[in-house]
C-alpha cells in the first residue's frame, strides 16, 4: 500500500515531465517570448508588394518600347497590322480600291500589332486590350500575375498607360486628306498634274526623301510626314520622324 502511493507520485511526476518534454519538442521551432513586430507585414510588403511594383515598372518599360516600335511599324504599313483589305502590292498597303475606301480601325490595328510584337519580343503570354488616348497608349491585361508564397498571395493586373509622345490620331487626318485627293483627282486624265496641285505639303510621292512621282495603272504610292509633326524618341535616345507609307488607287472602274 505504502509503495503503491509512492509509485503514483512518481508516475505523476513522470507524466508531468513527459508533458513538458512533449511541449518543448513540439514548440522547438517556434520562437518563444517576444516576437518580431510586423514580421509578416514587412515580409508581405517587401516580397509581394514591392515585387509587384517592380513587375509593373518593367511592364511599363516593355510597353513603352513596344508602343514606340509598333507606331513606326504601322506607319510604314499604312496603319495596317497584317494586311490591307484593299490590297498590298510590292509591300505597299493600299487605302482604297476602285471606288471604296478601306478605312482603318486604328485601335484595332494598334491592338493587333502590339500583342504580336509584345509576345514576339518578350515571349510573354499576357494578352492586352490596347487602345490609345491622345498620346498615351493604354493596355488592359486580361490575366493577372499572381505572386504566391506559403504565407501570402498577391494578385496584380499588369495594366499599363505609357506616354508615347505620339498620337495615332494622325491616321484620321491623313485618311480624310486621302479621300479628298482621290475624289478630286480620280476623274482627271492628267493624274500627276492634279496630284501635284492638290496634295498638301507633308504629302510626298513614293518616298519622303526623294519625292519622285511613279504611277502604275493609276495607282500611286505616297509617303506622308506626320501631320502632327510627331517623332519617336527611341530608348537609345535617337529621334525618328514618323512617316506614313501607303498607296492610293485612282481608277474609277
Amino acid at each position: 500500500m505504502k509503495s503503491k502511493k509512492g509509485a503514483l507520485v512518481h508516475w505523476i511526476v513522470l507524466g508531468l515531465l513527459a508533458a513538458i518534454g512533449l511541449f518543448a519538442w513540439l514548440t522547438f521551432e517556434t520562437e518563444l517570448g517576444v516576437q518580431i513586430k510586423g514580421e509578416w507585414q514587412l515580409d508581405y510588403l517587401r516580397n509581394f508588394y514591392v515585387e509587384g511594383q517592380e513587375e509593373l515598372v518593367q511592364r511599363d518599360q516593355e510597353a513603352l518600347f513596344a508602343g514606340k516600335e509598333i507606331a513606326l511599324l504601322l506607319a510604314n504599313n499604312g496603319g495596317f497590322a497584317e494586311s490591307s483589305p484593299c490590297g498590298v502590292i510590292d509591300e505597299v498597303y493600299y487605302w482604297n480600291k476602285v471606288g471604296s475606301f478601306c478605312f482603318l480601325e486604328v485601335d484595332a490595328e494598334v491592338d493587333k500589332a502590339f500583342n504580336v510584337f509584345f509576345q514576339k519580343k518578350y515571349g510573354k503570354d499576357q494578352k492586352y486590350t490596347v487602345s490609345h488616348q491622345g498620346k498615351e497608349l493604354v493596355g488592359k491585361s486580361e490575366e493577372a500575375i499572381i505572386l504566391a508564397g506559403p504565407k501570402a498571395k498577391h494578385t496584380i493586373f499588369p495594366h499599363f498607360r505609357v506616354n508615347l509622345g505620339y498620337s495615332f490620331d494622325d491616321y484620321f487626318q491623313l485618311q480624310n486628306e486621302a479621300k479628298s485627293i482621290v475624289d478630286l483627282c480620280k476623274w482627271k486624265p492628267d493624274l500627276r498634274l492634279c496630284l501635284e496641285d492638290t496634295k498638301l505639303p507633308h504629302w510626298k510621292f513614293t518616298n519622303c526623301d526623294t519625292d519622285s512621282y511613279t504611277e502604275e495603272n493609276r495607282r500611286v504610292v505616297f509617303c506622308s510626314e506626320s501631320p502632327g509633326k510627331y517623332t519617336i524618341l527611341r530608348l537609345d535616345g535617337s529621334t525618328v520622324p514618323v512617316r506614313y507609307r501607303f498607296g492610293l488607287d485612282f481608277t474609277t472602274s
Binding site: G33, V34, E54
Partner: protein, 156 residues
C-alpha cells in the same frame, strides 16, 4: 545487504533523475524568457522597415518624371545613357535627384549578368562614403542588343 538496499537505491536514483529533469526544464524556460531581447527584435523590425523604404525609394527614382518636355521618366534616360555610354549625364541627373529628395547613398547601374557575377557597374553615382547599407535592386529590360537587361541598384 546489497540486494536488500537495491529498492531504496532505485528510488533515490529516480528521485535524482526526476529532480535533474525538472531542473533542466525550469532552467530552459527561465533562460528562454530571460534571453528574449526585445531590443534586438525591434532592431530587426526597423532594419526590415528601412529595407522596405529603400525599395520604395528606388521605385520612386525609376518612376520620377523629368521636366524635359519629352514626357520621360528617370528609367528612360538611364537606359538612354547606358546605350550612349554617357556617364557624365547620368551622374548629373542622379545628383539632381539626390539633392531634390535629400537622399544620401549610391546608385549603380549594372549589366544584369555582371551584377550576378559581382562585377563592376557600368555607371555609378554616390554622394556619401560608406561600406554597406540597405540595398535594393530592380532589373529593367532594355530592348537593345548591347545589354538585354540592366540592374539598377540603390544603396542607402
Amino acid at each position: 545487504m546489497f540486494i536488500k538496499n537495491k529498492k531504496g537505491m532505485m528510488d533515490d536514483f529516480f528521485d535524482l533523475l526526476f529532480t535533474s529533469l525538472a531542473l533542466f526544464f525550469i532552467i530552459f524556460f527561465v533562460q528562454v524568457i530571460l534571453d528574449t531581447d526585445a531590443e534586438t527584435k525591434t532592431e530587426i523590425t526597423l532594419t526590415e522597415l528601412h529595407n522596405f523604404e529603400n525599395d520604395v525609394q528606388l521605385l520612386h527614382l525609376l518612376d520620377y518624371p523629368l521636366s524635359d518636355g519629352k514626357n520621360q521618366k528617370m528609367r528612360d534616360i538611364i537606359l538612354q545613357y547606358v546605350d550612349a555610354h554617357n556617364e557624365a549625364l547620368f551622374k548629373e541627373k542622379m545628383r539632381e535627384y539626390f539633392e531634390k529628395n535629400n537622399l544620401e547613398g549610391r546608385i549603380a547601374v549594372y549589366n544584369s549578368q555582371d551584377y550576378l557575377l559581382d562585377k563592376e557597374p557600368l555607371f555609378s553615382f554616390s554622394n556619401v562614403v560608406f561600406g554597406a547599407g540597405k540595398v535594393s535592386e530592380v532589373e529593367l529590360l532594355t530592348g537593345n542588343a548591347g545589354h538585354d537587361s540592366i540592374t539598377v541598384v540603390l544603396t542607402t
